[in-house]
Structure formats: C-alpha cells, structure tokens
Symmetry: D2
Subunit: 440 residues, 4 copies
C-alpha cells in the first residue's frame, strides 16, 4: 500500500494568517506564537509542532516529528492580521479576555501585540445578536463588502510581503441557517450576494473573499459558511482547500473518545446529558437561542454518527441526548462541562459515567488554529483542493464528501490524518495488523 | 493488502468452558448465557454477539455482524464447568455476590445454575491471603496437582461430550511474583513443579494443565501465570493459543481512551490520581498489600506505554500517577472509580478532567469472558498459537511478543482486532485514508 | 426560659390523610406506612418516628424519641385517601412510578394498595399543561367545585370513621401565579371563586375546602395556594394550622446547609450553578416553562435569604445563581443534581465546591409527608392556628408572618422546631451557651 | 436569659502574634494582614473582621459587626514573629509555598515580609520525619529548650513593645502520641521534661512556654499538645485561655455540615469515603504513616460524635468511614477532596452524595488564624481561662471539658460562639423559638 511521494511546493517566504475575530482565541494564538518564537513558552497542544508519526514496523523505531517529516511552514514565517467589529488591539483583547497571565505572558510581548489592530469588520447584528461594535465597514451591499474584504487581503499581503495567505474564522457563532437555494451553486450564490439575500451571512462573505484570493479558508465556528455546494465549487475552481466546521476543543472532544469506547465495547447508551458553563464573549453570544441552535446542532450530531443506531438499534436506538450551555460569568474563559452518561451492559444493567472537565476554552482552541493554518497551507502546496476531510480531527462537525458519512471518532480521525501524511510522503499505511511479530 | 482467506476448522460440537473461580464474574457469565439462550436477556457488551465489522469502502455499506463474518461457536454450543475453593453452586454464588436481580435474573434459571457445582480447587492461601475455602484438592505436590487438573479437564470433556475446551481464569489476584529462573523455559518450569518451588503459583498449574490438554488458556487476573517464556514455549509446543492478562473493564478502560485522547491532541499530563472503592470479594483480596501490588503494576503501566514519555519528554516526562483501591463494603460489586487528571495545554496552562465511573464489576467483565472464550476457540481452529496480541482489547496488561511494546490504546487494539478478522477472512485492511472520495 | 406545658388534646381515634395527587410521592408514602405497620420496613427519614430531642444539660443524658415526648398520632391510626385526575389505584401508581422494588415493597401489600382508588379531581389543564386525565369532576364553577371537595372530605371522614382529617398537596406544580386582588382577603377570595376568576387555581379550592372543613392543609408544591392573606384569614377563622410550601427534599436541602456553612465562615460567593435531571411526571410537568417558573422562584430564594447580601455586600452582593431543571427520561424518579459553587476566600482567592446528589425524589419526600401530617395534627390539637413557621424545616419556601423574613437555614429551622417542641412541653430552651461546664 | 455585661479589659497597645512554623499558612496570614492594613485586600473568611451578630428579635433589625460589638484588638495593632527550622523569611516562604500571586500579593509588601526572619526552632525529626531544617536550637534538654522559648517570647515582646502575646501553632503534624502518665498533671509533666521523656513532644514545649509567659496558646495541628490535663492545669494556674486542635478548614468543614444535615433529616448513613490529594509541605509530612495517624484520628471522630450511633443504631450504627490523604505534587497548596457518601432513606433505599472540593489549604486556614488570635486575646481580657469550648467552630477536634462530649456540628458551634458573645456583652440568648410573631 506504499505510494509514490507527492509533489509538494516548498514552504518558502512569509505566511500571512488573517483571523476573522480578534478576541480571546485569536489573541491567545498570536501571543503564544510570539512567545514561542522567543523561546518563552512551548507550543503544547500543537500536533504540527510537537507530534510525531510512526513509520514502518513497531520494531523499526522510526517516529520523526511531523514538522520534520512533512514540509510545513515554520512558526517564524507566520505574520498575523485580523478583522473585528471591536477596535481593540491584540494587546487589549488579550488583557480583556483574561485568558493569559498578564505579567508572565502578555507584557513581555506587549509591543508586538499592540501593533496588531483589527481591520474594520463586515458585521451585521442580525446574525449575532448579543455582539456589537463600531469598527465596521459601511454597509454597501454584500457584493461590495466581499470585494472590500478581497482588497483587505491583497493589501495585507502586500504590506507584509507575504507569499501566501490563510484565512481562519475565530469569530462568534451566527444564528442558525439552513442550506437554501442561494447556496446550491456558485452562480446562485453570487446572484444572492448581489440581491443582498439574507441567507448570505457575513461569514460567507469572508470565505468567498478568501477563496477568490486563492487563500484557504478555515471555519472555527459552527456557522454554515463553506459547508454548502457553492463554496465547494468555488474552492475547486480556484484550487483552494477549505475546512470546517467548529473547533473540537472540550466537551465534544471527550464525546468523540467516550462514545467510540462504548461502541468498542458494545455497551448500550440510554442517555447523555451534557451541560456547560462559560462566561466569555462566546457564552454571551450563545445566550441568544438562535445562536445556540447553531451550536447545538453542531454538538448533537457526533453521538449519532459515531454510534450508528441503525446498525445497533438495541444499543443506541433510543438515546436521550441533551446539550445545555449556560452563560455564567464567574467562569470567564474557563469553560466547564459536566457530562452524565447513562450506559447499560450485560443483561441490561445500568451504569453511569460522569465527566467534569475544567477546561480553558481559548487555551484548547489556540493550538488547533496553529495546526489548521499550517496543515491547510501544506494541503494547498500539495495540490489538494476543496474539502480536506483528513483534518476532521480538529472539528466538531467535519465537512465531508456528499457520498460519505462524516467520521467523528477521534481515533479514526487521527488514523486518517496520519495515514494521509504517510500517503503524501510515500510511506506505508499503518493498519495495526502486526501478524508478522507472531509468525514462526 | 488483501490476503487469501485462512483455513479455519468449523465450529462444530460442544465447546466446554472451564472457569477457574466460580464467584461473581463466573456466575454472572453463566446466568447471562443461560438467560440469553432462552431469549430472556441480551448479550450487551459482547463484541462477538452484537458487534459488526465494516468491510470495504464507506460507500459500500457492508457491515456484517462479526458472528456472521467469522465462524464462531454459538451461545447454544457452550457448556460450563468450574473450580472453586468455596463449594457454592453457581446459583448460590449468584445470590451471594449480589450482582443480579434475584427475581428477574436468577430464579428463572435457578435449576441450571444449581447444577453447576465447582470441582475442588488447587488453592494455597499463601498466594491469596484474604481468601479461604474447604473445597480444595489435597496438597499432593505441584506436579500431582497439575496432573489432577488435567484429569478434571478430561473428565469434564468426556462427561459433557465436549469437542473442545477453553479454560479461563476468573479467580482472585495472587500475590506479586516476578518472572524468575523457574519460568525461563519449559524444562525449568517442570523441574520447579517437581521441586514445589514457591515461584510456581497455583494459577500456573491451571495454565499448564490446560495447555497440556490442548485447551486455550485465558488469564483474567493480573497474575503472572502464562506471561513467562516457559508457558509460551508450551503453548507453541501443543499448538494452543494463550491470552492475558487482567480483564480491562472499568477505570483502566477509561484510561486507555483518555490517555490516547491527550496524546492525539498533544496535551501535557502532570498527574493522574485514580482511586477506587469496591466491596466485593475482589476488593477484600486486594486489601492485602501483596495482592494489591500485582494489581497496581497492571494498572500503572498503561499510561506510560500509551504516552511514550521518551518521545514526548516535555509532555509526559514527569507524570505523577497514583492508583488506589479501597475495600469499602457499602458498594458490594458496584465498583466506583474517581479519576482526577491534571493536564496542561498551550503555553503550559493547567486544566483538569475528573471522571467518576459508577460501574458494576461483574457486569463489565462478563461479556469479556464470553468474547475471549469464543475468539480463543476461533484462534485455535484457525491454527493461531501462542500469544494472541490481537485480543489486547480485552486486557489491562496485554501479553505480547518480546520484540515489541504492548499496545494499550483501546483504538489501536480495536483496529488490530478488526483488521485481524479481515485478514483471517481475506478482506482488505482498513486504513481510513479515504482519499478516493475526494479525487476529481 | 422554661414555660408552662401547653394543653394539647390527646391523639385519639383515626386520623384521615387526604392526598391531592396519587402519584409517585403519595403511593410511596402509603406503601411505606403499610409496610411499617407490618414491621416490613423502617420509617427512615422521618423525624417524628426516629428523631430524638435533647432535654436539659449535655450532662443529663436526656434525649427521648420525639414521638415519646410529644403526643403524636401513631402510624397505626392513619387512614389514607386521595384525589387524582388519573384513575390509577395506589397499587397501579406505585408500579408505574418505578420508585419501589415490586417484589420486595409492593406485592406484599398489594391488597391494601389496590383498595385506594382516587376520588375524581378538580383539575384544569390550563394550570398544569403537561398533565392530563379523565378522573376529573365536571366543571361546575369554582365555588361548586370547592363545595364538592368539602363533601368528599365529609364523606371520607364518615366512611372511614375518622376523628380528624389532614389534607396534603402531593400534586404537580401549577403555572406561576402572583398574589393579586382576589387573594387579599377572604371576602375577595370568595367573590373571585363565584366569578370563576382565573387567579383562583385548583390548588386553592382544595385548600379552601380543607380549611372550611377544619382540616389542616399542607402544600408540598411551590404553588401559591395558601401563601396569600385570604387563606391565612380563613385558617384563623376556622382555627386551623396551615403549612407550605414546596417540600425541601434534595438540591435545596443541600443548599440550605452549604450556604449557611459559607456564611458561618464568611467565605464569599461568586456564583452557584445548579442543574437537575429527572425523568418522572414531575420532570415532565416542569418541562413547561410556566410551571418551571413557579419552581424556579421557589428554588432561587433560599440563597438570598440565607446569605443576606445587604449585610454582606462584599461577600454576597453579586451572586450569579442559576437553577436549571431538565426532563431526562433515563432517570425516572431518581433525580440527580449537580451543583457548582464558586466561592472566594482570604484576599479574594477563588475555590470551587461541586456536589453531585444521586437522590430519589419520592424516597426523600415520603417521610416529609408523614412528619408534616403528624406535626400539623399535633399543632391543631395544641391550639396553634394559621401559619406554622416552626415547620419551616420541611419547605423550600416556608410560609411566615409578614413582619419577618423567612428562615431558610436548615439548622435555624431545626433549632426552631425542636425549641418549639420543648416550649410546647414546658422544657427549657437550648441555647448551646454551655458556660456552666467551664466555670470554676 | 439576659445577663449582666462582663468586665473586659480594653484592647490597648500592640498584640504580638508568635507563630510556630513560618510556612504556607503563616506567610499567607502575615501577607494578608499587611495587605489589609494597606487597603489592598479584604479579610474574606474572617468572622472577626466581616461577621455580624444578630441581637434581639428578627423585627429589631439589629446586626452589628462583631468587631463593633465586642472589644477586639484591631488589625493595625498586630505584630508578627515566628519560629521555624527552615530559615526562610516570610517573603521567601510566601514565594516558595506558591499560595499567593507573586506580582499582586507578595511584591507590594515585600519589604515587610523580608523583615520577618524566623527564630531558631525547637525541632526534632523523630516527631516529624519528612521535615528537616538547620535553623534549630541546640539540643540542650527539653526543660532548657522550653526556657529558651520563654526567653524568645520575652525578647520579642520587649523588642516590639507588645502589650500582650498570643502563640499559635501553624506547624506540621507530629507523630501520633497518646496521653500518658507524663501528661496527667503539671508536676508529672515538668518531671518528664527534666527527664527528656519522649512523650513530651516539641509542640508541648512551645505550649508550656507560652502558658508560663501568660500568653494564650492555640493549636492548629492535630498534635496532642495542650489536650492533656497537665496543660489545662497550667492554663488555669497562669490564668490563660487555650484552644485547639487542628484547624477545621476543608473536607472536615464540609463533613460537619453534611452529617448534621443527614441527622436533621434522619437519613441513614452506610458509608463515607473521603479522599484528599495535596502537594504542599503538609502533604509531604502526612505521607509518613505516623504523622498521618495523628491526622486520621482527628478527621475520623467528627462523624461519630455528630451522628450519635448509640442514639440512632438503625441509622448510624454501622458506618464504613474511610479517610485517605495522598501526597500528590501537581496540586501544591491547592488541596482537593472527594467525598462519596452512601446514604439511605425511606424503607432503606440507597442514595449517594458526592462532594468535590477544590480548595486552597492556606487560604482557608489564614482567616482562622486571625480570628483565633483575636478571640483568644479577647477571652484573656474577659478573664476566661483554660479550654475555650466556644471556639470549637474553628477546630476539627475541639478541646472540651471532660464532663461533656465535644460539639462538632458547625451550626451548634456557631450558635455557641455567637451566644457566648451575646452573653459576654449582656445581650439576650437567641433560641429561634419566635412564637411571638404568630401570637394573636
């Protein structure tokens, strides 16, 4: 199953990273990268920076760092920019979001953070009701707004002498939108833009601008954005990879290992009650039922896809799955989840698993941003375009080909990612069969 | 990577299952199988009975039941016997252990359970201090005891017209033993038996007897038993598969999905504190520090092997891992674990995961017994002998070839098991690469 | 502070207990009392049956059982009846609610339980939307319905030769009602009944009927019912004690000891997040936002009253208190709560307390019903009428005199109850000063 | 029950606080007091600084601050000194113990903290095995060591112009000692000192020195120290109050409200499993089984004394109570406890309460130190001597008169403390009877 190594363009020059939303996540990413550049912190949580990939047999003892194995851009090549309706610099955003220790992780790089001022955003409160801001582009019609974003991208690229650009959505959750006629194909999409159709959300304008400018687009929120045929068509047309949606960081990360565990053991599931408390801007936005619905849809799907109730009706045919998110200011960015999982085993006897995750939202999300930027840039240089299912590992709701179901199981996702890297570099696929160690 | 289908002998006739220890686990298995035979309960938790295996592409929609895919013995072909130093029948053991609801799951099959009386055991209190019993074979020297067990196996096989026998250890945890000279090879082992060497534990006599009689031996406790060269040599000599050790049922099951999750995400681990409360016979036995040490060694290894501190010294180089087990009678068989996991992410920020598992020891173990019996019997009919690493999924401390490290990650174990079944049946290995769905 | 002993009428004859609602709680009470009468179970959780009261100095060693100290009716004197819109007998209700083990606690007294058939209820779905039933009195106007209930009480009393009657609401939570003009005094109330005013809820008709018939009325739900001046006026007029509201059984019970603990230690409180999952009829009813609001009001008040934010603005002036209840069928009657309590101590440092209560709703409520019935009957025989604040211990939202704030602290409530018993019987009040043990 | 106001000497001049042990707790107290003096922090957790006391009827609305009600020394009058076998200043101790944020709570008062250098300690490693240090007085015999401590006290008092001194043990847990002949009376004690009897622990020499110098002594550890007749005799002879033992700060604080809750409701208790993880010096010391035993005894007693198994054999006659403490370095001073409480209710049905307390050891202990110092000084000025049972609120194992059982219930302790303050000031005792609000 060994294949020829792919041709991959080298990762030369500067890689511009444009972030939609300069809040807790974006400022944590930027501060972290600046600290790491200076040797003041470590890129914990980043597969591209710290991960290895096993090659060949277990007895060969080959496990290079991923960044030594595939030609990724380096941390030092990254240049950051952002859009945000609130005009705080990265420094002000980092202070306000309360994620990082001010004296240890913000002040030492204050100068760099202060230089990053957000460009005026394309923002419309009817899509994110609990947010407001003045650093907004004048409403000149959706097509013109998209063109203004394209100009921003070109300007940033020129001003910072970037060779390539990646755009990543680190912004808020928009209200729930279902795919409609305006999303069926590129022509319909562009006509809808011209008509200022309400099913064209701001996030779509960012994605459209990025793809038109040849920049990969990554969607860190559960918004519809690129998860529609029109965007996939555009990505293929301009030869650009896309990925999303919704960073898989805390509670859902846990779900995508615990549900596979139940299935691996054929333990039944009667109910799964998930509640969350968080007090950051994200929590405030999700306090709006319409934004919450978008997030809820993203969070509810994983269990059904992993557990395959059609294959296992006795085990997973009637699962009571509830997801609750509560805005609870005492917590700030320190999101906490509590899951109660009602399972049943041999002869139907009930058992319970309870998981309490005291996590940090932006600390978990930041390395995902870094990895996705670097992997998407790699994908583009390797000639991969459209949906990058091999990056499913990073998403609550991974975009996938229409012909297949999504893979939510974290370990299938990991195998897929690593075997894709092996395939790109012409190394043998790992199957874990390993019968050779036991043959006489 | 498709291979020719293996030759596998058909699963004809009756399969005798001899259990060492007729306590909570064994009586729960037997009662369950009898209820399932009568359609009064479902084999929840059993991969062999309820699991499927995906074949081919995701788009092919082929996912037969494992029991339809590989030629396993059926539930109806099973016949049970046991040894135990306590002379309770399976009925009495089921009542006393308090695992099953008396009115719903014991009385309807009382007659069958009462028929199963344990054969006198090979038992020595110096190996299991907190246990005692009168249904014990006279101490006639270790070699003679082994021969008496061989005779028991032959007698049972004849009396119940069995075609094949599998022996499985469902008994207590012996005191901690390290591999020594008596275990290096079969000749040394037999000489040590003759000399009544104290490093030959009772569990080894059962294993020796089984292997000599051509019966696969499965070790459900953390005892050393077959995890020594002498036993592997004997298994190869008599052409018998062996497997162990220590059923992976509750807290360790969780560890082997949560530790891989941390590694998949490159999240660091500072400490893992695991405590357990249980009130059954197992808890009483583990209240003896020497028995606990055997269990502790079995439980401590998984994190180190999964996290590979040598590959990831910054993440996993200094983990404080504590495992505590407390005998706490209020719980009976309803073992409960509480894990506190101190992790760190981006830039070193600390987070915590706490898992509280209210499980049922025997309910989790019972389907593992069923699966292992059926898979080991399959292995033997397929001509596989010696260590069956593909059954690692079921063990806390899976036995493996000396040339390789053990695989503790539940998902690698699952891939290994399912790809082994595919390999046995001549089906293609699954790699999750899946690039074909995205090629133009 | 010793006072003369009060005159209390003796507890002679049969005491009829009429329960509004024959569901999980009522059937658990009735079954329990029948089992206790037969010596088949113990009245665990009942202060009247198992509690003691310390008299005099610690050195006197006097601590009689409460039932030996004050003249309570005995278990054997109790006779049960009920109203319910669903026509299930107590036997059917016990089976369906799944609280008690069928073989151990229902079948042995099946005959007695089957005899208890609910009288047709006064029921109106516009007050309890998620409930329905056919065993309902014809809607003949509110005054006539009240008269019909009075007749039911008289009939029951006669049919069962009762000397006295107590009526207790064990039914569902009605939609939220605020006290209005119809509740200001008895005349207004009766006029509103005649006008079929919508602010006269069904629960008020039961209370009105009971008080007119000279029967104490106890309100186990958070409904407004007797917590209005009109009802207090009626109680004083007919010389009847009343008590309510909302049994304090699980999560709120914990709150009323944990909040006092924080205050005893001057630990600050930043937030308290309380979530509940339950799957019984109560959970279903509370799934209606209007019923939930009634319950929420009842649950939210305790923290504010205990912590006195006006006295302690730095500690308790800005508490984020959230209460959530989720209908989650896997649990049935086994309600579970999870509380996260964000506190702060010395110099403002944050700490957390998390409490997970795996309780049983009806098991906790049943002994409260028994105690309240017996204590209310005692109160009536002792000539106490109107609001019985000394029974605050039993309620989430204790009714109290308009001149004072309610006491929610469980230990103040307990002191109040026990010192009231001492006062009734002419014993000295306990102050815990105890300086006499240390005087030279 | 109103009594005449006591005579209390005014709180004039400086109050010297000598702390035995200058580690995490002591440095947190000192830093906090210095910050509070400067208005940089608030004395959260301190009853003397923030607490109020209700006087008279609920309708009177009288609830003065305790420090306005009774004549306490003020924060500004306090002067600190310490002994410790490790020569770190309070500044170094504060940095090393990792309790306080360096930039926010240590550096602003660094100068004051650096001035506090510990006097050489009386220390003997055979009483605290896991601790070592060089700042130790030469071993000159126990009597001479006690005299050296007396001289230290006199020197400190003179050097800092103190009017009064209080000595408080904030040091480690010594090995388990049982009261023996050397402790029966003062003469025996002094003879044993002269003989260097091993039952005279170092902590006793500190207490002896303090009492001889007329300074109240408070015991914050579970050491035997003053809890022997000889010390009570000495306290009475020199007219000095004493108090102890073992600060009640975290898990035990919770126990002393949860156990009374169970009793208030007559809920049965089958088992209570308490585990703790902590990583500070205290954790290290308790890793020695002999020190742990001292702590365990202190922690185990509370449940038995509160639940009165002799009065309630059916409810509390057979409780499985386990306490575990694990040294787990990831936590540092952030001690965490997990309690599993197995209770039973109506008819014997089982329920569970689980409490997870993420606390901070020194943050919880610091305000107790402040309160005890101020209250003990008050007691002395009020002429109270010997055991101060009214301060039981602060201790895991409150010292008490031989004629009575100890009061562990936090709310009885609180009532006792507040009624003692009322008694001292000639105010009426509060009984919570409150019948006057309901009399016609």
């Amino acid at each position: 199953m060994q294949t020829a190594k792919h041709h991959i363009e080298p990762a030369e020059g500067r890689l511009g990273v444009l972030m939609v939303g300069l809040g807790a996540v974006a400022s944590t990413v930027i501060a972290g990268v600046e600290l790491i550049k200076r040797g003041l912190a470590e890129p914990i949580g980043s597969l591209t920076q710290m991960g290895t990939v096993r090659l060949g047999k277990r007895t060969e003892d080959r496990a290079p760092l991923i960044r030594d194995f595939v030609p990724l851009a380096t941390i030092d090549q990254l240049v950051f920019g952002a859009w945000d309706p609130i005009s705080d610099t990265a420094y002000e955003a980092a202070i306000k979001s309360g994620v990082l220790d001010r004296y240890v992780h913000i002040e030492p790089i204050a100068e760099q953070l202060k230089e990053i001022e957000p460009m005026p955003a394309v923002f419309d409160q009817s899509y994110v009701r609990r947010l407001d801001g003045a650093n907004v582009k004048p409403n000149a019609g959706k097509r013109d707004l998209a063109e203004a974003l394209r100009q921003d991208i070109r300007d940033f690229k020129a001003a910072h002498s970037c060779d390539r650009i990646v755009v990543i959505w680190c912004g808020s959750t928009e209200i729930f939108l279902e795919p409609g006629p305006a999303h069926w194909n590129l022509a319909a999409f562009e006509a809808a833009m011209d008509a200022n159709d309400e099913t064209i959300a701001p996030s779509m304008l960012y994605a459209y601008a990025a793809l038109q400018e040849g920049a990969p687009f990554i969607n860190g929120a559960p918004n519809l954005t690129t998860d529609v045929p029109a965007m996939v068509e555009l990505a293929h047309k301009t030869g650009v990879p896309i990925g999303g949606k919704d960073f898989k960081s805390g509670q859902t990360l846990l779900k995508t290992v615990l549900a596979p565990m139940l299935k691996a053991r054929m333990l039944g599931l009667e109910g799964w009650y998930s509640t969350n408390i968080l007090g950051n801007r994200d929590g405030e936005v999700l306090d709006d039922p319409d934004s919450f619905r978008t997030k809820e849809e993203s969070k509810l799907g994983v269990i059904e896809h992993i557990l395959q109730p059609k294959l296992y009706p006795q085990l997973y045919g009637d699962v009571h799955h509830k997801v609750r998110i509560n805005y609870y200011p005492p917590r700030g960015d320190n999101k906490e989840s509590w899951d109660n999982i009602d399972i049943f085993g041999w002869l139907g006897y009930a058992m319970q698993i309870k998981v309490n995750f005291l996590c940090r939202d932006s600390i978990l999300a930041a390395p995902l941003v870094l990895d996705l930027v670097l992997f998407m840039d790699l994908a583009q240089r390797a000639g991969l375009k459209g949906v990058q299912e091999w990056l499913s590992l990073y998403f609550k709701s991974p975009q996938h080909a229409p012909s297949v179901y999504p893979e939510h199981d974290l370990f299938i996702q990991q195998t897929k990612l690593k075997n894709t890297l092996r395939w790109l570099m012409g190394e043998e696929q790992i199957t874990h069969l390993g019968m050779e160690y036991y043959q006489d």
